[in-house]
Amino acid sequence: MAMRAFDDCTVGQEFEFGRRGPVTTEMMARWAAGSGDFNPIHYDRTEALRQGLPDVIIAGPMKFAMMLDCLTDWAGGQQPIRKAKTRYQGMDVPGTVFTFHATVVSADRGATTGTINLDIRVVNQKGETTTVGEATLELPLRG
């Protein structure tokens, strides 16, 4: 996979950087077990419904991890992500397929690398943006 370069990015550019899913309850159980986040809304459907939720809810940091993984893939396997943040504004349930979208909002060329800032939207298969975020990447210059 070719490494993404700073010169490939322009301010205002919009792109899709990955898809992930459908998310299964098995994936959610693996996440809960590994993270130790045993908030029952992530694995106990009865409790989730009792709390007025539509189903068990995909943990926010699990969505964050998928976003970071897809963004790393988009960068071509290198690890250029210096900062990232998310705000979870909607709930996602098992069966969700996520599509990750970004817009380049700024680009600063340095002497040896360039830095880009992205606005990010995480969209489910219904077209709903359930997570928004930002990321800062440091990319190599071409040539």
Partner: protein, 145 residues
């Protein structure tokens, strides 16, 4: 007239305090593989290299001591959801590293939302490797209803 805060005095007194460094936790290949499976990642760097790299947000996933969970805020609202994450990735984390975490409660505030009372908590967790190098800073926001 200002409204009474729902932040109990003992929780308010914890703002600005720290857990201290938690117990060291080894970054192992098996746990990295579990992380990759949980997020549906096919990245071979998590499973097939001679020394596998940890996924970027691995510390959030598997460093339980010295984290926000060590705070016993005893808030009057008990239904918690994650509001957001805010991370700085400072140095790579590899299989074989040993991480320790230290968390500070940055803020606990009460506000009225459209569906009723909310308490918003913000923590800052600093993760260090076995050489004492800061490798990641995480600032999670919690929303309590």
């Amino acid at each position: 007239m200002s409204e009474a805060s729902l932040i109990p005095p003992h929780a308010a007194a914890l703002v600005g305090t720290s857990t201290g460094r938690g117990a060291p936790k080894l970054v192992d290949r098996n746990t990295i593989g579990q992380f990759a499976a949980a997020i549906g990642s096919g990245n071979p760097g998590f499973t097939q290299s001679a020394s596998v790299a940890a996924p970027l947000s691995y510390p959030i996933y598997n460093v339980p001591s010295g984290t926000d969970r060590d705070f016993d805020l005893q808030l009057p609202l008990t239904r918690r959801v994650r509001g957001g994450d805010d991370c700085e990735f400072i140095a790579p984390i590899q299989e074989g590293d040993t991480l320790t975490a230290e968390t500070t409660l940055s803020e606990a505030r009460h506000r009225k939302g459209s569906t009723g009372d909310l308490i918003i908590t913000t923590f800052e967790t600093r993760y260090y490797n076995q050489r004492g190098e800061l490798v990641m800073i995480e600032r999670p926001t919690g929303v309590w209803r």
